[in-house]
Every structure is written in structure tokens, then in C-alpha cells.
């Protein structure tokens, strides 16, 4: 019924509010790592014309999502965005349930245990624990890691309906034509692991010295897939340990969490 306004593949819904989309795109253009952005840079990243950016940044600043630094003449994210993020976190009751079990496993494995969900083409940590003696990379709540090369991302792909995982993979391919063959191989291997054992591995595919195992939790209530992972230094978490010991324990953890959740919600 709706006549496609433009022939872009991305339908611009009659039902979508463009100004809101654009404003959020402005916020999104602040990737973790770049402190300050000027209107110019934002315009470059978003492809929006200058006056539009000017209006959007004004609005966002007035509302406390951005603030303006006189010194640099640029904007940076402000507290209001954090307030939103937190409102999201406190309502994820899977965190409360999983926390002690994750902590326990982290200590047992002397590694990090994390819980993540999909966000666009990344996995986003919503909970993380390090063993008391872990020196590994510091990944905390809010951290993002790629989907295709991490165990967490691969476990997600295995748990998602085929249509969705394919759609993700297409986009990944577009963005990584060069590495695609290697990426694809890794994912096929992960599928095999998943079918045989119920979890996926990544042995140095993301960062050379990092080994990890991950498995999904598909909530009974139809909400979004959750993924648990255990991550550590390659020399510490050897393949056989992940496959024979940590992996199974991770599955066990997931079963427990899932049962607890199901029991709680009638």
C-alpha cells in the first residue's frame, strides 16, 4: 500500500520520525574513544548538512545529552545519556540472577565471565566479572566487541533464527570484504562446535592471545537472546580446558539461570 518514497532499500517508513532518527544518529556518532566532536566532524560522519547538525546539537545540548566545551569549541556526550543507559540495566533481572554464578565461574576458571546482548553489529556487555587474579584486558559493562570473530558473537549467530543471522552476516561481509574468507571459516567451525557441544569457541580469532568460550540463553518469554562467555589469556585457557571443563560448566550455569528466570516469571 505505501508507495515507496525513494527507491532506497531502507524503506523510509511513513511511520518514522526523521528528525528523531537524525538526532540519535548524532549521538551515535560519538564512538567510545572520541571525546570531542565539532559540528563539522559530526556532519562528516552522519552525512547531514551543516545547519541541520547545528540545530540538532543545540537541541541535544539543551536537554543535557551533549555539552559544549568553550575551550575546544566542540561537543561531547553528557550525563543524560548515562542516566538512560542505567535505567536499562537495572531492569535486566537476568543480571541479578546470573551475577553470583558468573562470579563463581570466574574464580574457578581464573578468567573473566561476561554476559552480553546484540547491539547492531556488536555484542554489548551488560555484566562482567573478573577473577580476583585476572590480568586480562579490561572489559566492563558497556564494552562492545565484534560479532563475527568473538565466541560471544558466534554463539549469538547460532542461537538466532537463520534469517536474522544471515542478515547480520551480510552486513559484516560488506564491511570486511578483505577478511571475509577467514571470518566465514571461523563461523562455520563455530556452527559445528555448537551443534556438537552446545557452545562456541574463539581461539585467538579476535585478539591473538585471547581464548574464549560462549553459549546462548534463549529466553522462554521471547525476549532477546543473551550470551554468556568465559574469556582469558590464551596460555591459560587451553583448548582442551575450554572444551572439556569450562564449556560444560558454562552450559550448566546457563541452565540454572534459565530455570530460575522461568520460575520467577510465573
Amino acid at each position: 500500500m505505501g508507495k515507496a518514497k525513494t527507491e532506497t532499500g531502507v524503506e523510509n517508513d511513513r511511520q518514522s520520525v526523521r528528525a528523531l532518527e537524525r538526532g540519535l544518529e548524532v549521538l551515535r556518532s560519538f564512538k567510545p574513544g572520541d571525546r570531542f566532536l565539532g559540528n563539522q566532524e559530526i556532519a562528516a560522519r552522519t552525512g547531514l548538512p551543516k545547519p541541520t547538525i547545528s540545530r540538532l546539537t543545540h537541541t541535544l545540548t539543551r536537554l543535557g545529552y551533549l555539552s559544549y566545551s568553550e575551550k575546544f569549541g566542540k561537543y561531547h556526550l553528557d550525563s543524560a545519556v548515562l542516566a538512560l543507559g542505567y535505567s536499562y540495566l537495572v531492569n535486566m533481572d537476568v543480571r541479578r540472577v546470573a551475577r553470583p554464578l558468573m562470579q563463581e565461574l570466574a574464580e574457578y576458571a581464573q578468567a573473566s565471565v561476561a554476559l552480553g546482548v546484540q547491539d547492531r553489529l556488536n555484542m554489548l556487555y551488560i555484566e562482567a566479572y573478573r577473577s580476583s587474579a585476572t590480568v586480562t584486558l579490561t572489559l566492563d559493562v558497556g564494552s562492545q566487541i565484534p560479532i563475527a570473530t568473538t565466541s560471544m558473537g558466534r554463539a549469538l549467530l547460532c542461537a538466532l533464527p537463520e534469517a536474522e543471522s544471515n542478515s547480520i552476516l551480510e552486513q559484516v561481509q560488506l564491511r570486511n570484504e578483505a577478511d571475509w574468507p577467514r571470518i566465514k571459516t571461523g563461523i562455520e567451525q563455530a556452527r559445528k562446535d555448537f551443534d556438537e557441544r552446545g557452545f562456541c569457541l574463539s581461539l585467538g580469532d579476535w585478539k591473538r592471545d585471547v581464548h574464549a568460550v560462549a553459549a546462548p540463553l534463549v529466553p522462554s518469554d521471547g525476549s532477546r537472546v543473551l550470551v554468556f562467555s568465559c574469556v582469558g589469556a590464551a596460555f591459560q585457557l587451553r583448548r582442551h580446558m575450554l572444551e572439556d571443563d569450562i564449556g560444560p560448566r558454562l552450559l550448566n550455569l546457563i541452565t540454572n539461570v534459565k530455570e530460575t528466570l522461568d520460575r520467577q516469571h510465573s
Copy 2:
């Protein structure tokens, strides 16, 4: 120069994008604590008409800021908001600098040490540490506490230019006509403490059994005021300890952090 369009006190800037404002208001209407909201409830909270809400929720859902639960027929916040919040946090380098000192003080005082900034009429934690043996209330990064009755909020008021703190207090008064006299007394006392000693107290004014001391850090580069606080059980953190020992140590911590920051930025 700008000609006021309407005579509302809140000027509706020629420079502001209404649709964006409204969309963000929809997100904001999810306070920490309410998991699911239907269009109806959102409409009630924001005062916007139904079709408008419908369009905004659609848009926000498409972008990953909300997601829709078939089961409940309602929306809840989704991962995209957390991704934003994290991008904000990682860029606050005051956190990196302050973290070890906060931890140290927390252990010394056997209490919690927090770092917060203003967000609307709340203080928002951007870093928090508990001593290993603390049983106190669980306040974590992202938590929000009121301005007028907490030591952290009062310290903010003392550090802000008078115009700003007055503007905040006006709004607080409007929202709490009943308690206003008591609130006002507390703040006046805090001002006196601040002038004499450099820090503010709250001895049970926010929660009966909670004592706290706080002091501001006003960055040299003109960015927003930061507040450090030390919080604990009333029976443990007695007034004299806060005034004679913890308070001064907190000021010392702040001096150190500030010097480190100033040294780093040219």
C-alpha cells in the same frame, strides 16, 4: 537578538528540533524501576497525543533504543541506550585518575566512596567504590540520588554559581512544597559547613541511617562540577569522624585528583 516567539518563560528556540525533544522525552519517561510501558502510559507521562507516541515508539524501536514485548504488548528500553551511556563513561578521564584514590579511601573508612555529576535534579554516580566489608545500600555507577537532601547534592549547590544553584532550588521547592522548610534548613547548614570546612554533610537527611560527607571539584578547564562523597551507615560514620577525619581526607583526595588532571591537560 532573538525575538521571543511565544511569551512562555521556556523559550521555544527557533533553534530547537521539537520531534527530537519529544522522542527523547519518551525515552526519559522510562524511569529506573518501570520495566515496561505501553503507548498509553507513555502518553500519560509525556502529555503527548496517542498517534504521536505511536510514531515515536516505532522510530525508537527501529533504531534499537526500545524493544517491543509481544507478551506484554509494551515497550522497554533496549541496548542502544546503554551503548551511548558507555561512550560517555569511557571518556571521563577523571575516573581513571580518581579510581585508586577512591578505593583507598573506601577501605580506610570502611564505607563507600562515590563520584557524581549533576543530571537535572539528581546527582548521577559516574564511579563508585565499596569497601570490601560494606553492607550498605548498593549504589552503583548510574545510580541517581536527589540533590537537596544528600551531601553530594549539597556540595554541588555550594560549588555552582549562585544563579544556577538558585534555579535548581526553585525547581526543588516547586516539587516539594511540603518538606521545603526542612530541606531549606539542611541546605543552609551545608553552606555554613562548606564555608568553614570545605565540605558538606548529610546526617540522615536523605535516608535515616545513612551518614555522608561530600566536597566538590571544580575543574580548571571550565567543564562541569564533579562531586566526591563518602557514604556509610550512620552508626559507623559518626559525625565527629566525618568532620575531623574523613572529610579532610576527602578534600585531600580531591586536591590530588585535581592536580593530576591539570598536569595532564597541558
